[in-house]
Symmetry: C2
Subunit: 215 residues, 2 copies
């Protein structure tokens, strides 16, 4: 399988510039031979402005609202097209936040508000697991009573046959090359596997075991 | 229209007991003549335990995951049934968090993770607007780069023909009696109307204007 993916948790780290935290990885990922990038602006409402921003400065690449992005990919019949181009032809795929969510099995573990209704939550399926971008540890000082991120993911795993969920903290990203997956960036990732204890993984970890369907 | 609704932001306020912040309102709402309550436990996975909890102590009434609750209501053909019983027969409806979300036009403004796929995001429609429960003001000290709650609701209003969204902060609830709507509880509510400036409303405010379809 030729697949090459760079799935980033988020576009901006607090105090840093747009995509600053992953610019070296983006450079390495695309390399000097890539001359043209197809940018998919569907996750934000003003697509022209978003595309201009991305073109000018490679800003907020692939972020926005996951539901809006996935619905537009289906509306334009792009899901299978992208899947084939990436998995069969080896076209590199990079996504951040919403763009990482739609690369996985499904968008069931997005943090976004469901502002539009896509025809399914199934996504492009470039990897056999799900991602939770912007993964957030519980704040012990919070007085807010909403569920923690961990509780939400554990609720997801109460449902039958649900895939593993990789919680990518801000500053973290996953590089996939064929059947090799490596965690990059500056923060650890938290892995939720249905029926197993959750585990923490340091930057540099080999996560290739997540690419076998029957983990 | 006979409708009588009590839509609560959340079941527990920080530092308080289950439904403690709204127990007087619940008592007033159901009154002495109500002997039996139909409890809908679909929003949590372990429904027997949830029902027992609710029966024993009226705990976390109507909370849980909004997607799971709405899907189960459709799976059991209960959406129209509940709507008719509440709007035509005047059966009182009380919901908290997920239970408030499903009482509105749609679940497009839930905070929950989309762990299951309902056949539509349209909900019971007991009122002609949407609610965002657990409404949260931006934390100026946060380093997290996810969208604020306000940003998410404004994204929703970028979509055409989207209804108003009432942001109910924790500790807040809406009482609807026929064509009268009153904000109760201890916290203010924030109202988002498409194409208009957002507004703040104190406890005790008359929000009946939200019940006319063409606000």
């Amino acid at each position: 399988m030729k697949r090459r993916l760079l799935l980033v948790s988020n576009s901006t780290v607090h105090g840093g510039g747009y995509l600053e935290h992953c610019q070296q990885q983006i450079k390495d990922f695309f390399g000097p031979q890539v001359k043209r990038i197809l940018f998919v602006p569907y996750a934000l409402h003003n697509q022209d402005s978003y595309t201009k921003t991305a073109r000018d400065k490679l800003k907020t690449l692939g972020g926005g609202n996951t539901f809006r992005l996935l619905k537009a990919l289906y509306d334009h019949n792009l899901v299978t097209e992208i899947k084939n181009r990436v998995l069969q032809d080896g076209v590199p795929y990079m996504g951040s936040s919403a763009g990482s969510n739609v690369a996985t099995v499904s968008i069931n573990t997005t943090n976004d508000m469901p502002i539009v209704y896509p025809p399914t939550f199934s996504a492009i399926g470039l990897v056999p697991f799900n991602i939770n971008p912007h993964y957030l540890d519980p704040d012990p000082n919070s007085k807010h009573m909403g569920e923690t991120r961990e509780q939400r993911i554990l609720q997801y795993h109460e449902e039958p046959d649900t895939p593993s969920v990789l919680g990518l903290r801000e500053g973290s990203m996953l590089l996939v090359e064929g059947n090799q997956a490596t965690l990059l960036g500056s923060t650890k990732a938290r892995l939720f596997q249905r029926g197993k204890p959750t585990t923490e993984h340091d930057p540099g970890s080999d996560l290739s075991f997540l690419l076998t369907d029957a983990q």
